[in-house]
Subunit: 452 residues, 2 copies
C-alpha cells in the first residue's frame, strides 16, 4: 500500500489551511484525493468552512465529488452552491447520478431545476426519470461512444480519441445503423489490430447482449455477474440504443439489493445506517414492530383460549417458547435460502416445485431428529412419558409446517411478482408462532386425560 496520511490527520490539516486561508496548500492536499475521499473529507469539515472551500474548488472537481455525498446532503449542497455554480454542475453531472439525486424531489422542483439547465442535458435527465425506479433505464448513462456501421476502423478510432473522456471505463464500443438500432459490438482490441480502412461492419460481433430499458436492475446485475461484463448496452422497445450501464453502477445495485433483502428479512425498516439520527431510526423501525406487536396478541389470545389446558398441566408452558422458537428458526432458514436463491438464479416452475419438495424432505428429517431428541429430554425432565410424546410429536409437525411456510410463502410472492423478501423473517416467525401454538395446544388438549 502506498504511504498515505490517515484520514483524520488529513481533516485536521485541511481545516487549518481553511482557517489560515492557505488556498495553495489546501488544493495540493485536496486535489490529490479521489472523489470518494474528497466527499468524506467535505462531510467531516465543519459547515462554517464549506463556503470558502467551494469557492476554492473548480467546477469539474465539485461535479465529480457530488455523487459521493450522502443522498440527503446532495440537494442541500446544490442549494449552497448558488445558481451560478449549481447550473453548470448539473449540466456536467453524469445523467444517471443526476437522476438519482432528483428522484425524491417534487415534480415542480424537478421542472424548476431542469428548466435552468442546458436544453439537451435537461431532456436527457427527464428521459431517465421517465423510466420506473430500479430499472435499467434508471441507472444507465447516455455518456458513451457509439459508431455508425458505415464507419471505417480509422474513423471509429478518431471518434474514440475525441470522446476519450466518455470512454475511460470501457473496452468496447457499440455499433448502430441509421435507425439508431444496436446491431453490433466492437472491442478496442479489434480496433487496435485492424487496418484503418476496414469497415467496422466487417469486424464487429453481431452477438451482442443488451438489456431492455424496462428490465429490473436486479436482473441486469445477474447478467453482469454471469457474463463478467464491464458494460452492457441498453435499448428501448425498438432495439434503439439509448444508453449503457457500467459495472460501477452495478456494484452499487448489488450492494443495495443485498441490503434490501436483509432489511426485509430482518424487518429493519428502510435506509438506516450508522449516521441516521435516533428519532428517525426509531420511526423507521416502529411500523414493523407495532404490526408485529398486534400479531403477537393473536398468540396471546390462542394461549388464553387454552387456559383450561394450561391450568391443568403447567409443565406445558415450559416447552412453549422452545416449540415456537424452533418453528420460527427453521422457517427463517428456509425463507433466507429462497430469497438469496432468487437473487442469483432464475425461477421456473420446475425449480420451484423441486425446492418445495426438497424443503419438505428437509422438514421431515429435522422434524424427526429434533422431535425425537426433545421427547426424550421432556420425558427425563418431567418424568411423564405422555408429555414427552406430546412435545415431540408437536415439534415434528410444527417443524415440517414451519419449513414449508418459510419456503412456499416467498415462492408464491415471487411468482406473483412481489418481492419475496416482503415475507420478512419476523413475519414468518410470527406466523409460525401462531401455527405452532395451535398445533401444540391442540395435541396437548387431545391427550389431556392422560397428562393429568
Amino acid at each position: 500500500m502506498v504511504a498515505e496520511i490517515r484520514a483524520e490527520q488529513l481533516t485536521i490539516a485541511l481545516i487549518r489551511q481553511l482557517k489560515e486561508g492557505d488556498r495553495k496548500g489546501f488544493l495540493k492536499l485536496f486535489l490529490d484525493l479521489r472523489p470518494y475521499d474528497q466527499a468524506v473529507q467535505f462531510m467531516d469539515i465543519p459547515k462554517k468552512h464549506h463556503q470558502l472551500l467551494l469557492e476554492w474548488l473548480d467546477l469539474p472537481t465539485i461535479t465529480e465529488m457530488l455523487p459521493y455525498l450522502e443522498p440527503d446532503e446532495q440537494m442541500e449542497f446544490i442549494r449552497s452552491l448558488g445558481p451560478d455554480k449549481a447550473i453548470p454542475v448539473l449540466d456536467m453531472m453524469q445523467n444517471d447520478d443526476l437522476a438519482a439525486m432528483l428522484t425524491d424531489l417534487s415534480p415542480e422542483e424537478i421542472d424548476r431545476l431542469t428548466g435552468l439547465m442546458l436544453k439537451e442535458e435537461a431532456e436527457n435527465v427527464r428521459k431517465i426519470l421517465d423510466y420506473p425506479v430500479e430499472t435499467a433505464g434508471r441507472i444507465m448513462t447516455n455518456r458513451f461512444v457509439w459508431v455508425h456501421e458505415n464507419y471505417t476502423v480509422g474513423q471509429a478510432v478518431e471518434k474514440l480519441k475525441n470522446y476519450s473522456d466518455y470512454a475511460e471505463y470501457l473496452n468496447y464500443t457499440y455499433v448502430i445503423n441509421s435507425d439508431k438500432q444496436l446491431i453490433g459490438v466492437l472491442s478496442y482490441r479489434q480496433l487496435l489490430l485492424t487496418d484503418a480502412e476496414t469497415p467496422v461492419r466487417d469486424i464487429m460481433s453481431r452477438r451482442v447482449i443488451s438489456a431492455d430499458a424496462q428490465t429490473d436492475q436486479e436482473d441486469v446485475a445477474k447478467q453482469f455477474a454471469r457474463y463478467d461484463f464491464v458494460a452492457i448496452p441498453v435499448t428501448d422497445g425498438d432495439n434503439v440504443l439509448v444508453g449503457i450501464i457500467t459495472v460501477d453502477d452495478v456494484i452499487d445495485v448489488i450492494v443495495q439489493e443485498a441490503d434490501e433483502d436483509i432489511e426485509m428479512l430482518m424487518a429493519t425498516g428502510k435506509q438506516i445506517d450508522f449516521r441516521t439520527k435516533p428519532v428517525t431510526a426509531a420511526m423507521r423501525r416502529l411500523p414493523w414492530l407495532i404490526l408485529l406487536l398486534f400479531i403477537g396478541l393473536v398468540s396471546g389470545s390462542i394461549i388464553s383460549g387454552f387456559e383450561d389446558t394450561l391450568n391443568q398441566v403447567v409443565a406445558l408452558t415450559f416447552f412453549m417458547p422452545l416449540i415456537a422458537g424452533m418453528t420460527g428458526n427453521t422457517g427463517t432458514q428456509s425463507l433466507s435460502l429462497v430469497v438469496r436463491g432468487l437473487a442469483t438464479e432464475d425461477l421456473d416452475l420446475k425449480t420451484a416445485i423441486g425446492v418445495v419438495f426438497r424443503e419438505l424432505f428437509v422438514g421431515i428429517i429435522i422434524g424427526i431428529i429434533c422431535g425425537g431428541l426433545i421427547s426424550v429430554i421432556a420425558f427425563i425432565w418431567q418424568g411423564s412419558f405422555i408429555l414427552g410424546i406430546v412435545v415431540g410429536a408437536s415439534l415434528v409437525i410444527t417443524l415440517i409446517i414451519g419449513t414449508l411456510a418459510g419456503t412456499i410463502i416467498p415462492l408464491v410472492l415471487s411468482r406473483f411478482k412481489f418481492d419475496p423478501a416482503v415475507a420478512s423473517g419476523p413475519l414468518i416467525t410470527t406466523v409460525n408462532d401462531i401455527l405452532s401454538l395451535l398445533i401444540y395446544f391442540g395435541i396437548a388438549t387431545m391427550f389431556l386425560n392422560q397428562l393429568t
Copy 2:
C-alpha cells in the same frame, strides 16, 4: 434484446445433435453461447452425452467454460477429461479460478495435479494457494500486463498488442521498476494520446492505489465500490507487484459476502442453494437448530422456576410470547443494521460508541411507545391495571436491553476480529428470549400480591 432461442429449446436441439452425431450443427449452436451459458447447457445435457461433447470441443472452449460449472462438478469434470486434455486445460486456466477449484482438495492431490502441469503455471497457482482464503492474494490473477518504467510509450503499446488476450478487461497498465516494485499506473487513453517516443515514466500517474495480498477480500470489495475501479494491482510486503484483481471477481466476492452475512444472520448453515440435496441441506442446517434447541431449554427452565407465579396468575402466560418475540425482533433489527453497516463502512471506536448511544435512544423511544401501547391493551383485555403496568414496564425494559444486546454483541465481536454475523439472528433472539423472560417474571413476582 436480440432474438434468442430459449434455453430449454436449445438443450433439446443440442441433445438431438449429439444423438445424431451432427458435430457441425452442434458446434454452430454451442460455440455461439457465452461460457456461462455453455456451462448451464453442459449441466443440463445428460451425462451419457458428455464424453462425445468433450471430444467435439476444443481446449480453449473447455477451459473457458469450466469455471462456470458448479464447484462440486469441476473436479469431476477434470477427471472425466482424461490426463491428455486435463493437463493443458489446467495450464490454460486463469490462476485464480484454478486456485479456487483446488481449494478443497487434499495437499497430496494438489501436489499430484500441479506436478503434472507446466512448471511455471504450477508455481503460480501454488503461490496463490499459499495466501489465506478470502484474501486479495487468493482472488488475484497473474495474467496481466506490466510495463517497465524505462519503456517508451511505443514499446508499451507494442507489449499491450502482443498480450492483448490478457488485457481484454482493462484500460490501465501498471508500471514497475527494476525491483518489480509498483511505481505507477498508465491509462490506455494516455497511451493513445501521447507520442511514441515519450518515456512512460514521464506520463504515468504515481498516485496508484493498490491492495496488499494479505488484505481481506471484503476490504478489497469496499475499495472497488468506493473508487469505481475496474481493476486494482496487488502487491506483497515489499510493494512488489504480484497480480491484479478484476471487477468481475469482486462482484462474486460482494455476492458471496452478502450471502455469508445472510447465512449467519438467519443461521441457515453454509452453502445451500436450489440444487443441494435434501439430506445434505438438512445436515447443514441441523447443528444450529440443535444448539438453539438446547438454549431453548434454558427458557423452559426459567419458566419452570417461576411455576408458582404462573400458577397464581395464568394471564401472565398470554403475554409471554409477545414480550419474548418483540425483544427478539428489535434485537435482530439492531443486529442486521450493525452487520450490514460493517460490510460497507469502516469501524473506528468513535463510530462504534456513537452507534451504541444511538441504539440506546432508539431502544428508549420504541420501548416507551410499544410498552405504553401494550399496557393499555393488557388493561382493557384483562381488566387489571396492575397487570397492564407489569406487562408495559417489562416491555420497556426488555426492548431497551434487547436493542443494546443486538448492537453491542456484534460490535464487540467485530472489535476482536470475529465476523460480527456470528451473532446470528436466532442466537440473538434466543439470548433475548432468556433475558426477557427473566425480566418479565421477575417484575411479575415483585407485584404478585397486587396481581392476585
